[in-house]
């Protein structure tokens, strides 16, 4: 029973993190039409920055927000330096083919991931680094009972839910949010309405970068970051997106939590090595049974 509850709450807090990663991916997917495989590379980089700041004696929260800013800046840089030039070239020979138009941005983001990992490696590799949790990661005690969750679990779930609500409100209630939604749904009409779609898209990358950084910070254990430590998280986040439906924010969240539970239970009751196999089977299963994801719209799968 204890194992079950432990797995449940671990699944919840990890699921919250996967939900954040998936959220970041959906934002860029809707805004720019591509899966940003470099996203967790941005997160990894900003986690390193935050870790360095803490080692130099800065306050935890200062480091936290510095990481957000780094993630945001990296997102903006990727959009301005890589994605914009790519979009401008979309009429030319190779990029004129629709399958290539889908494939090329994926390849570009993989290249960016490689760059981020290499640079991070050059600056920080070899030094054992971690990013501590801001609150206790020891099991909570209420009275004399040990709860199956930690304060950190609650903190994680709380932060993620806050971000999700904030993002949702931002998109649905504000003018900038409306501009973002409009640009994502039909960028030509948006431009004809006077919306600066290029800048709006960059904003999407900025928000996504910041969100990913939060996920990276929450998931990095206190003892070790490495240039490739967040790769697995990206895969899981991507799968969460596919499960939920690539263009649905709600779907991303649901998918994230679902995967969080599945993985936690596999780790608790089965071999942790089976995780990749389980993810693969879930991925294939969803694509077979409901290719647009649980909440996605039919059109979006780009047949």
């Amino acid at each position: 029973m204890q194992t079950f509850l432990n797995a449940l709450f671990t699944g919840g807090s990890r699921g919250a993190i996967y939900a954040l990663v998936a959220l970041g991916l959906v934002l860029v997917w809707r805004g720019a039409g591509l899966i940003n495989f470099a996203q967790m590379g941005q997160a990894m980089f900003s986690a390193y920055v935050a870790s360095t700041l803490i080692t130099k004696g800065f306050n935890y929260w200062v480091a936290f927000f510095a990481a957000l800013i780094v993630g945001a800046i990296l997102g903006a840089a990727i959009d301005i330096l890589v994605i914009r030039p790519l979009k401008k070239k979309s009429g030319t020979a190779i990029l004129g083919s629709p399958s290539m138009r889908d494939a090329i941005p994926v390849i570009a983001s993989l290249g960016i991931l490689g760059i981020l990992q290499s640079v991070a490696g050059m600056i920080w590799a070899g030094s054992e680094r971690g990013f501590p949790a801001p609150v206790s990661t020891v099991a909570l005690k209420v009275g004399t009972n040990t709860m199956p969750f930690t304060f950190f679990d609650l903190f994680t779930i709380g932060v993620v839910i806050l971000i999700l609500i904030a993002t949702s409100l931002f998109l649905s209630r504000t003018s900038v949010g409306l501009a973002m939604r409009a640009s994502a749904l039909n960028s030509e009409v948006a431009r004809l309405s006077g919306i600066r779609t290029r800048s709006i898209r960059t904003l999407g990358w900025i928000i996504s970068g910041a969100v990913a950084s939060v996920a990276g910070l929450l998931v990095t254990p206190a003892t070790n970051i490495s240039p490739s430590s967040l790769d697995l998280i990206l895969i899981i986040g991507f799968t969460a997106c596919v499960i939920g439906g690539l263009d649905s924010l709600l779907g991303a969240v649901v998918g994230g939590f679902l995967l969080g539970f599945v993985i936690a239970f596999i780790s608790a009751y089965d071999l942790p090595e089976d995780i990749f196999i389980a993810i693969f089977l879930i991925l294939i299963g969803i694509m077979y049974v409901r290719p647009q994801g649980l909440f996605g719209s039919q059109v979006s799968r780009r047949v």
């Binding site: 997917w29 591509l34 899966i35 495989f37 890589v82 030039p85 790519l86 070239k89 030319t92 020979a93 190779i94 990029l95 004129g96 083919s97 629709p98 399958s99 290539m100 889908d102 494939a103 090329i104 994926v106 390849i107 570009a108 993989l110 290249g111 960016i112 991931l113 490689g114 760059i115 981020l116 990992q117 290499s118 640079v119 490696g121 050059m122 590799a125 070899g126 895969i235 991507f238 799968t239 596919v242 690539l246 071999l271 090595e273 089976d274 995780i275 990749f276 196999i277 993810i279 693969f280 991925l283 294939i284 694509m287 077979y288 290719p291 799968r301 780009r302 047949v303």
Partner: protein, 340 residues
């Protein structure tokens, strides 16, 4: 005279030229370079598999390392458990990889773009863990060691002493040449054209009577067979294990394909050369700077990532496309009227 030959004959001539040229090159360089040539030949087959899959039919797969692993493990198992000669085992590995490609292709045909990329990525990560699970068969982390044997005595009597590395070249070369010949024919054939149609304009292609799904699966099978051969050859350097086929291998092949040129044989050739020789070139470029070890370790990775992004943004057709463009430009200057 060259123009009078049919396309197939021209491709055969090309393949034979390649065979002789690489053989001579391999014979006269030292062991370190010989090893590089052998690896380059192997990766050439691997990059060809990507050029066929992505360049010709437009399907982006990150799972080549998994297919190579299947090829490699098949070869290893066939050789060690069934005691079949390497020369037979390699083609058999192509078949087993091709079968895997059939399964994967059936799923992939329904997917596009990022979905396909993501799924194949997860596959590439999941497959090695399967090998770890069934340790008794697959040898787990330590894998299966394969012995390429020694060169036959009749060959030694012709060529003199053959180093291990040169023997590597002599083993991989026939298969690379065969792959070259087959690809050349594929690229210039009617099938090649229908695959390009699927790549560029699926709806139009299906209206023309091309069975899009079946085409995609067929290309997957062929591409996977190539990857399987590459994987077998890769493993023949001595070991087939989970660490031999990491996801980074898929990314290397993809990088080579993009840098060299995704849509041509020349591109595959250039790409495989770049992947193999880049670390050395970077090392030579960086040595006057005396960077600390930490930096030099990651320098090739940084260079690769940068080249990939720059190529994709500035020249997505790769080096080969620039070469062809240059040739076309020169040709048009020579005879401005005589253009097709």
């Amino acid at each position: 005279m060259f123009k009078k030959l049919s396309t197939t004959q021209r491709n055969l001539a090309l393949a034979l030229f390649f065979l002789v040229a690489i053989f001579l090159l391999g014979h006269f360089v030292g062991p370190y370079n010989q090893n590089q040539i052998a690896v380059a030949l192997t990766l050439f087959v691997g990059v060809l598999s990507i050029n066929i899959l992505t360049g010709l039919s437009g399907q982006l797969s990150l799972g080549q390392s998994a297919l190579m692993a299947i090829g490699g493990y098949s070869c290893g198992l066939i050789m060690t458990k069934l005691h079949i000669s390497m020369w037979l085992a390699i083609p058999l590995s192509a078949i087993s990889a091709g079968l895997a490609g059939l399964l994967l292709g059936a799923v992939a045909a329904k997917l596009s773009g990022p979905y396909l990329a993501g799924t194949t990525l997860v596959l590439a990560l999941a497959l090695p863990t399967v090998a770890n699970k069934f340790e008794s068969i697959f040898g787990g982390e330590s894998g299966i060691s394969i012995d390429t044997g020694t060169p036959p005595s009749w060959l030694i009597s012709i060529l003199g002493d053959i180093s291990f590395e040169e023997w590597q070249i002599l083993v991989t070369l026939p298969f690379a040449v065969l792959a070259l010949y087959v690809s050349a024919n594929l690229f210039s054939s009617r099938s090649g054209r229908s695959w390009r149609a699927v790549r560029d304009h699926e709806s139009a292609a299906s209206l023309m009577g091309i069975n899009v799904a079946r085409t995609k699966v067929l290309v997957f099978i062929i591409s996977s067979a190539f990857a399987g051969i590459a994987g077998a050859l890769y493993g023949l350097r001595g070991l087939v294990g989970t660490s031999v086929y990491p996801i980074a291998l898929s990314l290397s092949l993809l990088t080579g394909s993009i840098l060299g040129g995704m849509r041509s044989l020349l591109g595959a050739g250039i790409g495989s050369v770049v992947i193999v020789f880049l670390p050395d070139w970077i090392g030579k470029l960086a040595s006057p700077f005396h960077f600390p070890d930490q930096v030099t370790n990651y320098l090739p990775g940084l260079a690769t990532g940068l080249l990939l992004v720059l190529t994709v943004v500035i020249n997505p057709g790769g080096i080969a496309s620039s070469v062809y463009a240059l040739l076309a430009h020169l040709r048009s200057k020579k005879s401005p009227v005589d253009r097709k």
